[in-house]
């Protein structure tokens, strides 16, 4: 219930910040979906380099339109043109943005590891020894990677974006 409320508020507030259409480019081949969920029906394909118009954001998803097709695609699959820090704040997204579709996540009532459980935990020497017994050498790791066809590449770390984590613009 609270969820719905927050989602609709979110939609209203996003609307203003996205009044004018943004454009973007597909960073990778990806599937377009009819709704913003991983298991939603396919509505088309996006090819790396395709130009799209971004209709709106919802959670981790972007609704996009291209000359050929339209649908929802994962946010990171599209590089937004002329992106600015402010837009990022909009994707705060109320955690999932799936409210309103009636899709319910299974809440099995499984109790998670709580902070209290962690605070009260007792050191286990046998388990720690067991953990250490599974370690492999750097050479073993490299060999396994090679067997899987993985090739290491040189790549610098991503710099911290200027506006995203700042206080107020």
């Amino acid at each position: 219930m609270r969820y719905f409320l927050s989602a609709s508020l979110a939609a209203i507030l996003f609307a203003s910040s996205l009044a004018q259409a943004e454009s973007g480019t597909a960073l990778k081949n990806d599937t377009l979906r009819k709704e913003p969920y991983n298991d939603a029906k396919t509505s088309g394909q996006l090819k790396r380099g395709d130009k799209v118009d971004i209709v709106r954001k919802q959670g981790a998803w972007l609704q996009v339109k291209s000359a050929k097709t339209s649908g929802w695609v994962r946010l990171l699959s599209v590089r937004r043109a002329a992106s600015t820090g402010n837009q990022a704040a909009g994707v705060l997204s109320v955690a999932s943005g799936r409210a309103g579709t009636g899709q319910v996540v299974a809440t099995t009532g499984v109790r998670g590891l709580t902070e209290d459980e962690l605070k009260q935990a007792q050191f286990s020497e046998p388990e720690t020894k067991l953990l250490e017994s599974y370690s492999v050498s750097a050479a073993d790791g490299a060999q396994y990677a090679k067997a899987g066809g993985l090739k290491p590449i040189k790549l610098g770390y991503l710099p911290k974006p200027v506006a995203t984590q700042g206080e107020n613009p």
Binding site: L75, S93, L113, L118, F123, P159
Partner: protein, 301 residues
Amino acid sequence: MKKTAWACLFASLLSLPPQAMAFDLGGALKDAVEKNAGDLINDKNSNDADATQAKPEGNSLANINWKSPSKEDEIKLGREIAGNLLGAAPLVKNPALQQYVNRVGRWVASQSERSDLPWHFGVIDSDDINAFAAPGGYVLITKGLYKRLHNEAELAGVLGHEIAHIVQKHQLKVLQKQQLLSLGAGLLSGKVAKGNLAIEKVIGSGAEISARSLDKDAEYEADRMGLILAARAGYDPYGLPEVLSDLADISSNDGSIALLFKTHPAPGERLSALAEATSNTAISLPEGKAVKNRFYKLEDK
């Protein structure tokens, strides 16, 4: 301005306690002070507890150089913390799975600046959705999170995030500050002679430190580094974003993810920050491999 308003809306609408939104180090430090004050007052009980759970290492933690911990200090601390976590949730008794995770994790860790650490990876028997890092190279992922993964690149991304915490010494720095405060609290209460005991207590309850809220920037940094570490290892760099995208689909009311949501920014925010980081740079990310065929599938019970 806009962002601040958002944070408030978010917190109040979901009725999260205020501290759930406060990922600042200040909050963690305040906790540490309060906890230490409590420990010193309850010395009697603490002594009893210590007597009944003697550890083989004895007092080795008392010799840690808190000002500038050595690599050995770091590993000692991490071992203690990881061992505590394993006391709460033991390893999944599946050697093939554990070996697989170690092979993948070790390869990703080798792409970091701290390839020299003795890296240990493990899947713990908990339906919770979470992963943990402790100083010196200890990384644990829950069975609950592992089961949601689809390929090796996703595993590499998740482990990469935890490896980044260790490389950047995020938890170690929190522990160091906590320790300084602990000694300070000892002085104030005139119990400085029990300094060593206080040290034991801080670390003794240390399993929680691996799950404690870090500075929000530390989480975003671990995401950015984790993505690159996986990419350096030859994996599809989108593994970590895929996992975050999947986690964004889980309701925050689901208890199995409560702790992760409490200690990390929401997956949607993390995705957004990653999107920003990858779109504002001239670096083009490589395609990489998903490696699905040999991914170790963990069957349901």
